[in-house]
């Protein structure tokens, strides 16, 4: 491992930290300066993400290595670990962030203070959560990203945003307390917080302590499932996402995926095949909860009157699909789930940005969708006079095409990547090794197909309402820097379709190492540390 790629692992955490510190100390109220720093830092993050991705893929074990903060020998102190999945998530977050920040430059960064520093803090928390190899450090990064997300969800103010923001904060504070209870229970049983060390110690936990360990893991899991939005822990999500400012909502599309990532990582690491009698602990919950979430999200998106709420319910559909796919607990399905994760996150982010552009042309009270107006609030004045957008007729055409692209991705229809993602999920779920297809896989098939249909109907109805059936609409004034991020996100999904072979190979390799974590454990704890060290286990 070269020294450069070694330090590259911590760059996604340090860079946003410095960027936001610079903005807070030097930027003050100077928006142009702050915007420049934000964009430069986000572009650098994308480059770092790409470098990490290729470094991880080139590494023989799929693991770039463990970055030991303070250089303590493992398993002491905190480590950051970058493997295929972590670098993929870092890259995905940076790409969404770049789209959101470019979009926000057109007008949204002006509706409140401290947009840019908070944006970078949010990225720092997200990247840290992806890279950390320590449970308590994960809690700290979660709090960093949550604190920044509270600020961003309230960006632009307005009574609707403050009300939903308040609910969001309370729910997440309560979830954080559960997180702490879970972490301390696990520490009390195993005596370690290092994820790799935990995985090595869990097989040796005495059977009378197993109950306590599983209770801790279950409580910890609830904290993540709240963030992921699993039914019935998800009722806060649609209102918050619909009320958040569009660039922020678009970046929030990755927040639910942080929960998914942690579940994938921890569940497969701690409760994989090697975990003795605790193996596959909680699997049914993920499966059933995931499917219930898909159904709830699908019904919700059918029932939504506003575009933003519909998009928020689509977030639930995506989360639920991923939870159920993780619950299948098979390598192939996990690979398909990772492909679906990337495609649906990009599609959702594009949709949240697009909705604001489409809604912009609506007269208040013009139709049922006027509910959205109220949600967005009219308290702040956007200085439209300084906008230099041109109202060309082609605008509606471009927006309409982009909307269609989002619908295809989210409903999972060919030719875009949503179809390949769902196909990969279903093909692997129904392709049982021993010939007998489990009942869960059939139910999964039905739920997934029906939810696709529901999303398609909801999107079609919304599209007809937005593009064809509004007589009193004016063509929205949309600037190039607002459409470009949306189109770029959809083009990324198209690229994911064209390059489906290599992408799928990468996802399957990532899934392979998730399901066989011995390389991860050895990579973090160092060679020879594979034997379970159980001196404190079950004390």
């Amino acid at each position: 491992m070269s020294a450069f790629s070694d330090h590259l692992i911590i760059a996604p955490v340090v860079l946003p930290l410095f960027a936001s510190a610079i903005m807070l100390m030097l930027g003050g109220d100077r928006r142009t300066f702050n915007a420049t720093v934000n964009v430069v830092s986000t572009v650098a993050l994308v480059v770092i993400g790409i470098a990490l991705l290729f470094a991880a893929d080139a590494a023989p074990t799929g693991l770039i290595g463990a970055y030991r903060l303070g250089n303590w020998p493992p398993p002491f102190a905190i480590v950051l670990v970058a493997d295929r999945l972590a670098s993929l998530m870092v890259l995905l977050a940076s790409v969404l962030a770049l789209a959101a920040v470019v979009f926000s430059l057109a007008r949204w960064h002006r509706v409140g203070a401290f947009f840019h520093p908070l944006f970078q803090f949010l990225l720092m928390g997200i990247n840290g959560a992806f890279l950390t190899g320590d449970l308590f450090n994960l809690f700290v990064f979660f709090e960093v990203l949550l604190a920044a997300s509270y600020g961003l969800a309230l960006h632009g103010s307005g009574s609707a945003r403050v009300r939903e923001g308040m609910h969001y904060i309370v729910i997440n504070l309560a979830a954080s307390l559960l997180f702490l209870i879970g972490v301390s229970l696990i520490y009390g049983v195993t005596g370690t917080l290092n994820m790799a060390d935990l995985a090595a110690r869990i097989p040796a936990v005495r059977s009378e302590d197993r109950g306590l360990l599983e209770a801790g893991a279950g409580i910890l899991g609830i904290a993540f499932l709240v963030k992921t939005g699993m039914w019935p822990l998800c009722f806060w999500l649609p209102a918050t996402y619909a009320a958040a400012p569009p660039p922020v909502a678009s970046l929030f599309a990755i927040l639910t995926k942080v929960g998914i990532y942690i579940l994938l990582r921890l569940w497969l690491l701690l409760f994989g095949d090697q975990a003795g009698s605790s193996a596959h602990f909680g699997r049914e919950w993920l499966l059933l909860g995931g499917m219930a979430t898909v159904i709830f999200g699908a019904i919700g998106s059918l029932a939504s009157q506003s575009l933003a709420r519909m998009a928020a319910y689509s977030v639930l559909v995506s989360s639920g699909t991923l939870l159920a796919a993780i619950g299948m607990g098979r390598i192939g399905v996990t690979g398909g789930a990772l492909y679906y994760l990337v495609s649906s996150t990009l599609g959702l982010a594009a949709l949240f940005l697009l909705i604001e552009l489409v809604e912009r042309s609506r007269e208040p009270g013009a139709d049922v969708l006027a509910v959205t107006r109220e949600l967005y609030g009219e308290e702040y004045e956007l200085d439209d006079t300084t906008e230099s957008g041109i109202a060309i007729p082609a605008t509606m055409g471009i927006l309409g095409l982009a909307f269609m692209g989002c619908a295809l991705i989210l409903a999972g229809l060919p030719p875009l990547s949503g179809f390949i993602g769902k196909f990969a999920l279903l093909a692997t779920a129904l392709n049982a090794e021993d010939g007998a297809v489990p009942v869960a896989a059939w139910v999964f098939l039905v739920v997934l197909i029906l939810s696709g249909l529901a999303v398609l109907i909801a999107m079609t109805r919304a599209g007809i309402n937005a593009f064809w059936a509004s007589p009193d609409r004016t063509v929205p004034r949309v600037r190039l820097i607002e459409t470009a991020p949306v189109i770029a996100l959809i083009l990324l999904c198209a690229a994911q379709t064209v390059e489906a072979g290599p992408v799928m190979r990468f996802m399957n390799a990532a899934a392979q190492s998730l399901h066989a974590p011995s390389d991860y454990i050895r990579g973090v704890l160092g060679a020879g540390a594979e034997a379970p060290n159980s001196q404190r286990g079950g004390q």
Binding site: F136, F139, V140, E143, L146, A147, Y150, L154, S157, G158, S159, V162, R163, G165, M166, H167, I169, V170, L173, A174, S176, L177, L180, I181, V183, S184, L185, Y187, G188, L193
Partner: protein, 114 residues
């Protein structure tokens, strides 16, 4: 000592849970604070209870781990206190903003219809 601590955690958690289910924002914030005290005590308890034992080894001496209490939960509690303090302060600001914007301290921003 164990029973006192357990009762303390239980009372804090019980009152905290009851308060965060109340409809007024001030009750919710007090409930969250009480819950975070309960969690902090709980984290300490997970490091095993010891009296008259220091968490820090003496300088330039090889200590016997049996003579010392586990320092890690204490470090964790410190972090947890700071974080919950900061987020509670943030919530307080949002609470006041909501009170100012909606004119009521109900968590939904409006009084329920009688």
């Amino acid at each position: 000592m164990e029973i006192v601590l357990a009762l303390g955690i239980g009372v804090f958690t019980g009152t905290g849970v009851w308060l965060i289910l109340r409809p007024r924002t001030f009750q919710v914030i007090i409930g969250l604070s009480l819950l975070s005290y309960a969690v902090n005590l709980f984290i300490l308890a997970m490091g095993r209870l010891r009296t008259n034992a220091a968490p820090i080894l003496p300088a330039r001496a090889v200590g016997d781990p049996a003579q010392f209490t586990d320092p890690l939960p204490q470090a964790l509690v410190l972090t947890a206190i700071v974080i919950s303090f900061a987020t509670t302060a943030l919530f307080l600001v949002v609470l006041l903003a909501s009170r100012g914007l909606t004119g009521t301290d109900h968590v939904d921003g409006q009084e329920p219809e009688a």
